[in-house]
Symmetry: C2
Subunit: 326 residues, 2 copies
Amino acid sequence: MPITIEHVRAAADRLRSLAQRTPVLTSRAIDDRAGASVFLKCENLQRVGAFKFRGAMNAVLLLSDDERARGVVTHSSGNHAQAIALAGRLAGVPACVVMPRTAPEVKRRATEGYGASVVSCEPTLADREATVSRLIEQHGYTLIHPFDDWRVIAGAGTAALELIEQAGPLDVLLAPVGGGGLMAGTCLAASGESPGTRLVGVEPSRADDARRSLESGTILPSDDPKTVADGLRTCLGARPFAVLRRHLERIVTADEAEILEAMRFVWERVNLIVEPSSAVPVAALLNGTVPEVAGKRVGVILTGGNVDLDPMFQALAERWLVPGAR
Amino acid sequence: MPITIEHVRAAADRLRSLAQRTPVLTSRAIDDRAGASVFLKCENLQRVGAFKFRGAMNAVLLLSDDERARGVVTHSSGNHAQAIALAGRLAGVPACVVMPRTAPEVKRRATEGYGASVVSCEPTLADREATVSRLIEQHGYTLIHPFDDWRVIAGAGTAALELIEQAGPLDVLLAPVGGGGLMAGTCLAASGESPGTRLVGVEPSRADDARRSLESGTILPSDDPKTVADGLRTCLGARPFAVLRRHLERIVTADEAEILEAMRFVWERVNLIVEPSSAVPVAALLNGTVPEVAGKRVGVILTGGNVDLDPMFQALAERWLVPGAR
């Protein structure tokens, strides 16, 4: 393994004054339903609203002076886009994000709002890679991949490191698995800091490529999976795969109805806004899908909170902002 | 004044193992818009999702053995109903809540879910008071009023006490004003603990009875005000009025559009679910309505997070739980 717990600890030092030390919350409602003591690491309260800031910032801080001057590029229409944009701005490093032209306008504007330049591509893997390659050739940018990058994995692992410091010893630690960067960082952090902790990944059952890949011993691609958990539609990366094979106890899955019910449970009973991807491990806990958690101390990384709130606020505005409304 | 900072401190000791010490969060997005350093005391993360638990629990703990055996009664269709229900359950004290028969079924079930009995009344002040009086006569219950009660005011003040401990010295402290119990407790806590802190109340402009009452020097009732901030529709109580006259610098107001915009701002940028009442002081800050806050350290009590989430989750379910949905 090219990186270890020491790389995660170094990332934590590097991020100390830049990333939020997000709170760890508990909820009696979740504990009652799960039959366990659950500790929620609130990365939805992280900068840019997601753990992605940790990996992006760590990677930008590890650039050489020459690389910093030339700038960075990535491809993402999700939280990593805003994370790279903010990390670039904070470090004074030019950042460029390649986004499919079908990405929501709001994502594009948010990324530009943090000061990155956005380049559109066709919504195909081929054109995305061609566009990134062309930009690297033209500008000398350094690529910071959203998850298949050791600097990003080490940064992501700092969330679990903090969680263990804040909550104390954990019997089980759960995180969602998309590209696998967070779960890989979590594995490195926990196996170094708290070797007895069982590590369990959770995927949407409609996007269970990591589960199938770990079972077969080779990365099996996913084919544009249809799941509400938009952060988990990506295919497992090679570097995360290598870490997960070694450290992960298992992967369990949650279906779409379970994911939405868990998301609503966190919104309603904990009063935190979490995005569907964050609700995936909560869904597994609430539905008894993770074996042997009864009475145990279970950590969960709530990965982010970026959700389109239009339906909620349109309903409220219709009711309250019409003249003469009740 | 029959109570002082010492009563608030005693309440804090009493609540230590029962109430959550809720986190204080900061948000660069809010700071940038307000032009100040803003500290959010997250009582939406309190038990029952609102600061109301503090006052209810403190009042129940101050009952005599005889009063405990006979039980308590209150009237509320809001957060105080669930707060009294949970406080009663935790202390082993029977609790009865009088609710108008027009109250949402979900509020009734939540209150019963915490173990209180619910008695319906007509949605009029006269029938509510008659029903409470009849129950007191029949069962010997002790009334715990939602805000016009010194035990409740002292309990509510513990949120500000913690905020000052957690955030350090504050130049300004903001809270919404409905019945005035929270603002009165906040005044007592801050004037004792941090005498230089300016105390500012915020009301919906459609429910500005406290502002008008303080200006005229006598309590002017509100007439069923129509505001989205459902927790702030009540009229100022006599005991809170006495405290506010002495300690409050001023009351400012926010209109309905400002309240909804501030609520969305907190949901979207901080990833916390706050109810409209909580958004009222935030609205005043975001719109520059509070004088002389530029560059200051400003505390805000986010009072609660109980909101009907049906519109949001109906939209998500329609999109994702239909067979074959994208």
